[in-house]
């Protein structure tokens, strides 16, 4: 069904289209051929559950590390820079480290402190605010506030991919929300009648409108991909080999391939989540599953985008907080404070572990328990946005991340 018919059926073309922010942007999608945000692509992965940064990028040069983490340390893990070693499950990313397309920020965190609740921690990470703003008063996410400051956006500029809610993209600016492989097959008459049935309920009306448009576009996209032979005509010429079955990468493949297809067209900003990081117990066997999904997502995205678009891409993988410096009693780690951010993409200046290292001596830990935060994770994201899109410092510090002080440019974008 044509979107226009659906709008006519809803009776909103004539009367209330201007009042609804999403519909305004649909109009723009038809009329504005411009390219807001330029050519750079920005992908945010939210690692839900608190990734243990001290296990992923292991500070084996710190004298306390081996004693803190007797069952987790991997003495033979690949060396990064003489001080840090990379968790073995991330080894497939080493070529990217060598070519400067993979980097990390250690000992970084959101402003969230002390309660160590996953849910509040994730809310703050996605709201992009500080401890001065009550979380229940934040209505939008920082990526959406970024979009709100841009002119000429189309509804295809930003995508939230997958079935998880993504508060980071919630807000008044237009965002597409979709999971791959969703279909919506309705007869034209049923579609018309549904228009009428949803007429008085804005929530249902806008969700249905978007569903129909995306289902139509999705079918088209799939047909195009089949015609082209996805992964063959584009990218490196080779789809990376899938990891072992236990790591369950099937769903990630769907997400990443869909995201890559959108990014090859108009999408500039994409967000999705990966779960499985809450490793209270048996971390040595649990964490590799999540890490495999993470590293495979990055490799698959790189191959799906191809060298040209990958060269303009920045991926930031962020988590709500880190975990305790020491192992707990069950060969796992409990909720902590500072953690690790991963950066990947052809647009970044990688091959380096950024951030001021606070040390692991007990007196150097936060509350004598967690890695001490030495930077605000929002500042790194802000510098990435500034480096890629040239966004004003005042906008970043005042609107996107209210109250943030970005500090000097660390040069994470090439």
């Amino acid at each position: 069904m044509q979107r226009r018919d659906f709008l006519r059926g809803l009776g909103i073309l004539g009367c209330s289209a201007a009042a609804h922010p999403w519909l305004n942007t649909v109009t723009m999608a038809g009329s504005d051929g411009g390219r807001p945000l330029g050519d750079h692509r920005f992908v945010v992965m939210i690692l839900r559950g608190a990734m243990d940064g001290l296990d992923v990028v292991q500070p084996q040069g710190a004298p306390e590390y081996a004693g803190y983490r007797p069952t987790l340390i991997q003495p033979d893990a690949p060396d990064l820079d003489g001080f840090f070693r990379l968790h073995a499950a991330m080894a497939p990313l080493l070529p990217l480290w060598a070519s400067g397309e993979l980097g990390f920020v250690h000992a970084t965190s959101t402003p969230y402190r002390d309660k160590r609740s996953h849910f509040d921690g994730q809310d703050m990470l996605e709201a992009g605010t500080g401890m001065d703003v009550p979380l229940d008063q934040v209505r939008d996410g920082w990526l959406n506030r970024l979009l709100q400051t841009q002119k000429g956006l189309t509804s295809q500029t930003a995508y939230s991919v997958g079935v998880d809610a993504m508060p980071i993209l919630a807000g008044s600016a237009p965002v597409k929300e979709w999971a791959p492989e969703t279909t919506l097959a309705l007869t034209p008459q049923s579609q018309l009648l549904l228009d009428r049935v949803y007429h008085d309920d804005l929530l249902f009306q806008s969700a249905a409108l978007e569903a129909m448009e995306l289902a139509a576009a999705g079918n088209l996209g799939a047909a195009m991909a089949a015609g082209m032979g996805a992964g063959k005509a584009i990218g490196t010429g080779m789809v990376p080999q899938e990891p072992k079955r236990e790591a369950r990468v099937r769903d990630v493949v769907g997400l990443v391939d869909y995201a890559a297809a959108q990014m090859l067209q108009d999408a500039r900003i994409v967000a999705f989540s990966l779960t499985g990081w809450d490793t209270h117990k048996g971390q040595a066997s649990g964490l590799p599953l999540a890490l495999t999904r993470l590293q495979y997502s990055i490799l698959r995205l790189k191959s799906g985008l191809g060298p040209e678009v990958w060269g303009k891409t920045t991926v930031l993988a962020m988590t709500e907080f880190g975990r305790t410096a020491k192992e707990n009693g069950t060969k796992g780690t409990d909720h902590g404070t500072a953690g690790l951010m991963l950066m990947a993409g052809g647009a970044i200046a990688g091959g380096k572990v950024y951030g001021q290292w606070p040390g692991l001596a007990e007196a150097d830990l936060y509350q004598r328990r967690d890695l001490m935060p030495t930077s605000d994770v929002r500042a790194w994201a802000a510098h990435a946005l500034r480096g890629m899109y040239g966004i004003d410092r005042a906008v970043l510090e005042g609107v996107v991340f209210p109250g943030l002080q970005m500090g000097d440019d660390p040069g994470i974008i090439r």
Partner: protein, 451 residues
């Protein structure tokens, strides 16, 4: 208060048409709820004792699998039995929701099962999550919250899910011998999610002290919950300024009862009840009324439910909540006339294809929440383009598969929505191309998806 039977059925039950002998006034609903749990008797499901006995028979099965040898027929049969226990649990839950006249009880069971979320992923242990509902939630959810909290916290399913079994007092004999220590997962969620709420004024020190206090609690094969004094951190612990000392379970029971009586817990539970049943942004007066009834009664849950059902705000239209996928599917099955017998005799494959997989696709896999905070409440979390597309798809496919004959769509709308069916919906239902699509339209409508 203008009381409406349609609102009673849809907001506080699984919708219309009501099962036979279902009460329709708040007084009668509360009276039935205060009585015995007839649904648990009529549609039984296994408790943890039965599960542990069945699990004890599983050793030969796992041994054969480990050694990559053929599984003996006897062991294979035991494995099938333990899987069947879970099928029975799912079917009993659906049958109760579909057919029990005491719909309020089933909705409250779902509320508490979400409040005390437990997710068990291992294939042969999955029924453990349901045993928490059978043993701890159903018998205690009409008594005091302190008793409910205690029953849940001491249940093997919770001990296992939040890693309590492996938390060991660092200065306990076992901790010193094996150089092992705390796991604070249960201690934290107990305060953050189960009682005080994250906004309450507790500190990391309170969490750590609570974790020490809980050491000794374990869930063990064949035995269930066992308190192991050799794993318990010695000495007193101080939680929220109160010191707990003594042997065995007594100090743990004491702290749980104290947590239940905290004003933060009253406020947290009152807010959650009002949000779950009435509105994502509930009237502060309604929340205050529930909290006050809770506090005045010393944490009595019947008094709290009474305050909810007797408040005028609870009877206002329009419906502000979204039926979560589980509620939506149950209400849809009931509207389509699917009976408890039909669910109990349905082949597992059919149940999966028509009920469980669609629920999962809509974003709510059965007993499969992402974390211990359970499912989101906000309308926007459920009515997304994807979520709605899947609801529409299910609504359009099920009538022709489940209804013989498919009824007149307008009559169907009136039967399942009563006086809450909107004029637009009745207009559209009449104009559908055929009856299955007309009925599907009703199920897909905003009217039917709200409660």
């Amino acid at each position: 208060m203008t009381f409406a039977p349609t609102i009673a059925a849809i907001r506080f039950g699984y919708g219309l048409p009501l099962p036979e002998a279902a009460p329709v006034t708040p007084e009668d609903m509360l009276a039935l709820l205060a009585g015995p749990d007839l649904a648990a008797q009529r549609w039984p499901s296994a408790g943890v004792e039965a599960f542990l006995q069945a699990e004890a028979q599983m050793a030969p099965f796992f041994q054969a699998r480990r050694e990559k040898k053929p599984v003996p027929p006897e062991a294979e049969a035991r494995a099938k039995e333990i899987l069947a226990m879970n099928d029975v649990a799912v079917q009993a839950t659906l049958a109760r929701a579909l057919a029990s006249p005491d719909g309020l009880r089933e909705r409250l069971v779902a509320f508490w099962a979400d409040h005390f979320t437990v997710v068990i992923k291992q294939k042969y242990r999955r029924v453990l999550a349901s045993t928490l509902v059978e043993d701890a939630i159903r018998p205690h959810m009409t008594g005091s919250f302190g008793d409910l909290l205690t029953a849940v916290t001491l249940h093997p399913a919770m001990l296992e899910y939040l890693d309590q079994s492996s938390s060991i007092g660092p200065d306990s004999p076992v901790g010193m011998r094996r150089n092992k220590g705390l796991n604070e997962n249960l201690a934290r969620e107990l305060m953050e999610l189960h009682s005080l709420g994250v906004g309450a004024a507790y500190s990391q020190a309170d969490v750590t002290q609570m974790a020490e206090l809980l050491t000794g609690l374990t869930a063990q094969p064949e035995k269930g919950m066992v308190f192991e004094p050799k794993r318990a951190e010695p000495g007193p612990e101080t939680v929220l300024g109160q010191t707990y000392d003594g042997e065995g379970l007594a100090p743990i029971r004491a702290v749980l009862q104290d947590l239940a009586l905290r004003p933060e817990t009253a406020a947290h539970l009152a807010h959650k009840l009002a949000v779950h049943f009435v509105s994502d942004a509930p009237d502060p007066d309604l929340v205050a009324a529930i909290a006050q009834a809770y506090t005045a009664s010393g944490g009595d849950l019947m008094a709290s439910y009474g305050a909810l059902l007797q408040h005028p705000v609870a009877w206002q239209s329009p419906f502000q909540k979204i039926r979560q996928p589980y509620d939506f599917v149950i209400a849809g099955l009931r509207a389509m006339g699917v009976t408890d017998e039909a669910v109990l005799t349905m082949k597992p494959g059919h149940l999966k294809a028509m009920v469980l997989q669609p629920m999962a696709a809509m974003g709510q896999p059965y007993q499969g929440a992402e974390g211990p905070n359970g499912w989101p409440e906000e309308a926007e979390a459920w009515i997304t383009p994807i979520g709605l597309a899947l609801r529409i798809t299910w609504a359009m496919q099920m009538p022709k598969r489940l209804m013989r004959p498919v009824p007149d769509p307008v009559a169907f709308a009136k039967a399942c929505l009563g006086d809450q069916a909107s004029a637009d919906l009745l207009w559209a239902a009449e104009r559908a191309e055929d009856r299955p699509q007309g009925v599907g339209l009703v199920l897909a409508s905003a009217d039917f998806n709200r409660r």
